[in-house]
């Protein structure tokens, strides 16, 4: 368990450094749902697509080199689809996700981001509680 939090901290530093780079170099906020939603709407295309290419491409190169991470998804297909729809719709309505509100917004103490992060964390925790401890397993 001890290596886990060290890896978490180090990976987090990489994520934060990536977001810091995007702000200082390009003046953009590294909110994934914002960048993805912008690309869907055809806004800020060259930069947005380049960011997304890096985000998908670097893990793909790693996987090609034999370094694919173990990814464990136990959710059934219908719930996977429902979850994706909710995440896509909700992040656009609420203008941000874990990266945009959680990392970029909280680090500038934005009231909107603090509230949004509190709300999505709390709702997610309630859903996990219901799935695991009330409904009896996902």
């Amino acid at each position: 368990m001890e290596q886990d939090w060290i890896a978490g901290l180090f990976g987090g530093l990489m994520i934060g450094t990536a977001a810091a780079m995007l702000l200082i170099l390009n003046g953009r906020i590294a909110g994934i749902s914002g960048i993805l939603g912008g690309a869907v709407e055809g806004r800020n295309l060259p930069e947005g697509l380049a960011f997304l290419a890096g985000l998908v491409g670097a893990p793909a190169l790693l996987a090609l080199g034999g370094g694919a991470p173990g990814i464990s998804v136990t959710t059934s297909a219908p719930l996977l689809l429902a979850g994706g729809l909710l995440v896509g719709f909700g992040t656009r309505l609420g203008a941000g996700c874990t990266s945009g509100h959680g990392v970029c917004g909280i680090s500038r103490l934005s009231p909107r981001s603090l509230v949004a992060t509190g709300v999505f964390m709390a709702v997610a925790a309630v859903v996990v509680f219901l799935m695991r401890h009330v409904a009896g397993g996902a």
């Binding site: 990976g11 200082i24 380049a50 890096g54 998908v56 991470p69 464990s72 729809l85 896509g88 859903v127």
Partner: protein, 144 residues
Amino acid sequence: MRAFAALLSGALFGLGLIVSDMVNPARVLGFLDFAAISTGTWDPTLAFVMAGALAPMALAWRLSARRAEPICGGAFPGPSSGEVNGRLFSGAAIFGAGWGLVGFCPGPALAALGSGSAEAVVFTAAMLAGMIVHRYVTRARQLA
């Protein structure tokens, strides 16, 4: 130059999600399962990831306040002036519900997609559909 900077940032972001194991929904759900604190099986990793990510970003905001413009041109984002409103609440709640169901949020879903996870392909397709639905709902409202 701007596109290259964005590519590098995206790549580092994706690798950070893999190193921290946030690309793995089981890990995220293990954090969100706060009832597990009492049984000693709670996974605090996500809190360390957030702490690690917030530090460089907080520095970057300070640095940006001292610069007239970004290194590759353009402009810095304005102050976060938006109000805390119903849209923010309901959007965050809807997102949280989906996040809790699966354990994927947008960044990790895309990094997992790159890693070759079939579940991430399904999830991302649905997520894009959700974004498109939002776009049409917003447009329909503006026209009404």
